[in-house]
Symmetry: C2
Subunit: 237 residues, 2 copies
């Protein structure tokens, strides 16, 4: 059995439940690799081999060593017999198309980590919000974007089936971090000649909800606009 | 921490993945109360204090003692500090309206069990299907319905938030079983003067997927028709 642990939902973020509801310490009990964001949607988080990095919206990357910071939304797992993968001429087109077909990912949750030299990387970083929180869609309309060429680094994140697309990002949700840990963010686009890494398919999603949080309990989701909003805020292109 | 365990998804059933993918033995490791269906959508299952009952489409109820029968879709949990509830003049209107508000259920998963004397109970029972399996929507259009008046029994099942409505039934998904274990099914309607029981709110959904099952891996879900199909096949009225 292989489990992906998710705290919070994108749907709740969409309604403005952006206050942190799980500590880094508690999150790391459920995995040492993953992605997420901090209290107030403060940046893009990359968790790699138990180390926590936060890209903030001025473009800097913090190595987070405190364990009492809180997160409203995060996904983590422990590596367990991943499948090695080698890919040439890689971009989102390949990941979204042939790669999903080759590995039959359409209906499952999976983790992908790819390392190597990137010709281009295009990222964005969510800026910290203050209460009363806006909707994720409003935030998405004003997020700084960054580009780098010829940079060594790692992309990592998760694939989720379409039917889970109102609680998490459907398809790939990937973050990037450079080998020198100076550049990171939510991945919007990339190209690379050759990347190597591994893939892990999960048989279980452990979806944890912050049921003690009143903003979460009282949040009202408009399903009609939810998918459009998530596509606008979490899209990879 | 309180966990609801779900094996399979309604979305997969909708695409015709109706073959059993978890044994009763394995399911009962994750809970001793719950609901579900058997291989080929064969009937409505009620799991009560570790005993497994199956209402089949001719109206009979089997007490299932074999533990190697397989199920494509089921939800179970272990009772853990439930909240006692007492309700007067109970019907779906109350459960869907004031009860959800009073207990702030809109964004959480919860289990409800209510026992007592029912003036009316209206159920339906899914008939067993053979491969190649039709869609759940097709099955829903030909399901036998049953009515009883003045019957003692138990309703039990789960509440799921709207945003999880493509993987499970949004709102209440309840089954009924009579005290004499001779009448049971998926609950379409009921009325009762007074019912007593308990409510348990979960902070975790443990969603298990049959990733080794090729029909599941290859199933293709049409999101546009999914919610309409689930509403037609799992509706409570």
């Amino acid at each position: 059995m292989s489990t992906l642990y998710e705290h919070g939902t994108l749907a709740a973020l969409m309604t403005g439940s952006m206050a942190g509801t799980i500590t880094v310490a508690d999150l790391l009990k459920h995995g040492n690799n993953g992605i997420g964001t901090f209290d107030g949607l403060n940046g893009e988080v990359i968790i790699l081999d138990g180390e926590v990095y936060q890209a903030v919206s001025d473009g800097h990357v913090n190595h987070v060593t405190t364990r009492d910071a809180k997160m409203p939304f995060a996904s983590v797992h422990f590596p367990d017999h991943p499948t090695p993968v080698q890919l040439d001429k890689v971009a989102f087109d390949l990941l979204n198309g042939q790669f999903v077909k080759d590995h039959q990912l359409a209906n499952v949750f999976a983790f992908l980590k790819l390392q190597g030299h990137f010709e281009k990387v295009h990222t964005r970083i969510a800026p910290k919000q203050e209460p009363p929180y806006p909707s994720l869609l409003q935030v998405a309309q004003g997020q700084p974007e960054f580009q780098r060429e010829n940079i060594d680094g790692t992309i990592l994140g998760y694939y989720a089936p379409d039917v889970f697309g109102s609680i998490t990002a459907a398809g790939w949700h990937l973050h990037f971090i450079s080998d020198d840990r100076q550049f990171a963010g939510h991945l919007l686009g990339f190209s690379a000649d050759h990347l190597a890494g591994d893939l892990q398919v999960f048989d279980t999603l452990e979806q944890h909800l912050p049921i003690e949080d009143q903003a979460f309990r009282q949040g009202r989701v408009d399903l009609k606009s939810l998918r459009a909003g998530i596509a606008a805020s979490e899209g990879s292109k």
